[in-house]
């Protein structure tokens, strides 16, 4: 038992750190570190830089071109990227669909799709949730009917994050209505440029366009785009969920944002206010405890010596911590978080001209804080709501 990094781990961390410092564009980290808006180009720029290095699929096994890192190395990579202010990797391609293609796709599918994902060239989206199927995902209704060598897809997906940029979308579709709902679901890859695919924006409560509805109206999908066997999609999706968890607590971002919170508190004259400072201190304990939880999972995953029943806790706690730091930042801004100016979210924003290049009240760091807090209410809802997560955890704990 040792909390210190081994010399090898230290060397690895420094290798990653040096590379990230040398290759992360300053304008990107500026946006990330200040919660400003990222464009499609911003996100893809970083993806391609990682892709060229072979690190976009940083969790991939070597046989598919990944670096073959163990769980601790993956964690250190995630930490270095987060602390440096790198944009989060858009997960739908490299983190979500790729492992499914690797595990269940045909060699042809692997050859066809993985290179574009690894390089960051092709933008993938996720088509899981439907208007009537949120927590109860298995009740999904989007139909795919087999006609010769094609599927005809009809239905609607929703909450498709960044789907406005999507080129391909991986979908769970219903191919059978027999048996339990889970047994009639297939995993289909769909070209979003196909006729009949329509993307409609959903504006979030912070005024941003982040998620979408995706409509399928008699969309023809070649049968070769089916992953694995028909009606086995639910199994593949569960495999994916198991892979989705690794970085779900996002504790590295929390560490970075905790520092930002402290800076904001200082700027707003709250650093010496016992009451507010104690709130930060409580959050700091939460962040350290969450990090230890994450490290325990990573260590167990690497050693394979013992299994831990705590991975299910990571999403719950991670999302709670995220909401708390956004809340405290907003509270630190107080009245100066009240103005609502979407233009201030742009990296190029030079401050309000009529206010001599300032934000109302004076401190530009206040601009994104309320919006980020509002936006982050999603974290306890998406990726399996925290209520669903508690169902799962209690199942494990109670054994029934």
């Amino acid at each position: 038992m040792d909390l210190n990094l081994t010399p090898d781990e230290l060397a690895f961390r420094h290798e990653v750190r040096d590379w990230v410092r040398a290759n992360l564009p300053a304008d990107l980290s500026h946006r990330v570190l200040n919660s400003l808006r990222l464009s499609r180009d911003d996100m893809q720029r970083w993806a391609k830089i990682l892709g060229a290095k072979g690190w976009l699929g940083y969790a991939w096994p070597q046989q598919f071109g990944g670096p073959g890192w163990n769980a601790v190395q993956k964690h250190l990579f995630e930490e270095e990227c987060a602390l440096a202010g790198a944009p989060r990797i858009v997960p739908f391609g490299p983190v979500m669909v790729a492992p499914v293609i690797m595990a269940f796709g045909s060699p042809e599918q692997q050859k066809r799709f993985l290179p574009g994902i690894a390089s960051g060239e092709v933008w993938w989206s996720q088509g899981y949730s439907e208007p009537g199927s949120g927590s109860d995902l298995a009740s999904l209704k989007t139909r795919a009917e087999r006609h010769g060598d094609k599927y005809i897809v009809n239905g609607q997906k929703t909450w498709t994050t960044l789907g406005q940029y999507g080129e391909w979308i991986f979908c769970l579709v219903r191919t059978s209505t027999e048996g339990k709902p889970q047994t009639g679901i297939s995993f289909l890859l769909i070209d979003m440029k196909s006729p009949g695919v329509t993307v409609r924006p959903i504006i979030m409560l912070d005024g941003e366009h982040e998620v979408n509805e995706v409509f399928f109206d008699n969309v023809e999908v070649p049968a070769e785009n089916l992953i694995g066997e028909e009606n086995k999609g639910w199994t593949y999706a569960k495999h994916l969920l198991a892979h989705e968890r690794t970085n779900i607590a996002d504790v590295n971002r929390a560490k970075r944002e905790l520092e930002r919170l402290k800076r904001i508190a200082k700027a707003e004259g709250l650093w010496d206010d016992t009451r507010f400072r104690d709130q930060i201190a409580l959050l700091e304990v939460d962040v350290v405890a969450l990090e230890m939880l994450v490290l325990r999972v990573a260590s167990a995953e690497r050693s394979g010596k013992h299994s831990l029943d705590i991975a299910g806790l990571l999403k719950i706690r991670g999302s709670e911590v995220q909401q708390r730091y956004t809340e405290l930042m907003m509270q630190a801004a107080g009245p100066f978080g009240v103005p609502f100016m979407l233009e201030a979210m742009e990296a190029g924003w030079q401050g309000d001209q009529a206010l001599g290049g300032m934000w109302p009240g004076g401190a530009a760091h206040c601009a994104p804080l309320a919006g980020t807090f509002f936006n982050f209410r999603k974290t306890t809802i998406y990726g399996g709501s925290n209520e669903v997560q508690r169902n799962i955890v209690s199942q494990t704990v109670l054994g029934a």
């Binding site: 949730s129 009537g132 949120g134 927590s135 109860d136 009740s139 929703t158 909450w159 959903i202 504006i203 979030m204 409560l205 005024g207 707003e268 004259g269 009451r275 507010f276 709130q279 907003m330 509270q331 107080g334 009245p335 100066f336 978080g337 009240v338 103005p339 609502f340 100016m341 309000d352 009529a354 206010l355 109302p360 009240g361 004076g362 401190a363 309320a370 919006g371 807090f373 509002f374 936006n375 209410r377 999603k378 306890t380 809802i381 998406y382 709501s385 925290n386 209520e387 508690r390």
Partner: protein, 377 residues
Amino acid sequence: MDFDFSDDQVSLRDAVARWVDKGFSFERRHGIAKAGGRTREVYGELAELGLTALTVPDSHGGMGFGPVEAMVVMEELGRGLVNAPLAQGALMAPALLATGPAELKDAWWPQIADASALVVLAHQERAARYRLDRVATRAVAQGGGYTITGVKSIVPAGDEADAFVVPANLGGADDDDSGIGLFLVERSAPGVTLRGYPTQDGARAAELTLANASAQLITTDGLAVLQAAVDIGIAALCAEAVGVMDRLLAITVDYMNTRKQFGATLASFQALRHRIADVKMQVELARSMSYYATLRLADPEPRRRQAIAQAKVQIGQSARFVGQQCIQLHGGIGVTDEYIASHYFKRLTMIEMQFGDTLHHLGEVSDRMQETAGALV
């Protein structure tokens, strides 16, 4: 001791509720917010209902009503999520002018009552945060009047207002609370610059820059008056918050009884049922403390201040819990702009930070704590 509303109060409530139902749909509210939050038109409609005259003395064209009527109205406006500055313009402004010279009241009270003038408090300063006794803005006597220099932030409906009540320092240090005067500054006065913008909760505010702007003196001993007016504002906010929470709970209950997952309504899941019971608890604790704030508003110090601070602590805690849980109970739809619930949530969030957040008022309660306590003392 009695918590029944009089027939007149019930009629007043019903009148406001009817106007909301008929004249202030979510679509209208949403359109106003999208267009930048200007609400002078809505404010005019409230005036037609008589609401802007509510607490103006009847000697000056008002109705001379008290805090309970104000509470009844504010709760209803909260229920309708009405983004118009009634508390600031019609409840606080008359009180801010009350200790001023007769000619000032003769000139402005009738205009406030009929909404031909919107007068708002412009007190927020960068370094003061929630403290009323820190004033960097300076007033200088000049000729028979005064000129004022300074910047006031987040002035409610600032670029729609006709005049501002401005606290300014008459010469002491920034945190010298004895030298704080209150002044009336007209929008049209030379040296006044405004920069308006929309707010997170669908309303509007402005930065007010004063450069040797001419001002009329209300009082040179303004801190107590300012605090009293802010307490009126806090009581109004508490009532509004109760209305907001009450409706958000109703919206959430409707959704839980409609939305199905796993073949059953959300309302059938015990974990969510207990959550809604906790929400109901917080709404009713908030309502209790809104009553308390209103019924203690006319009390002498220090009891008024203690009661108002206690109420704001409760409302802050309740607003946070009710807002966040009702969004969570909705799931994805709850965080979209097109659905009504998120707007109730945003307003609740902003209410917590208006006139001092929960930690600030907890400090007020803690600092003032006496040996004995209780609502009925």
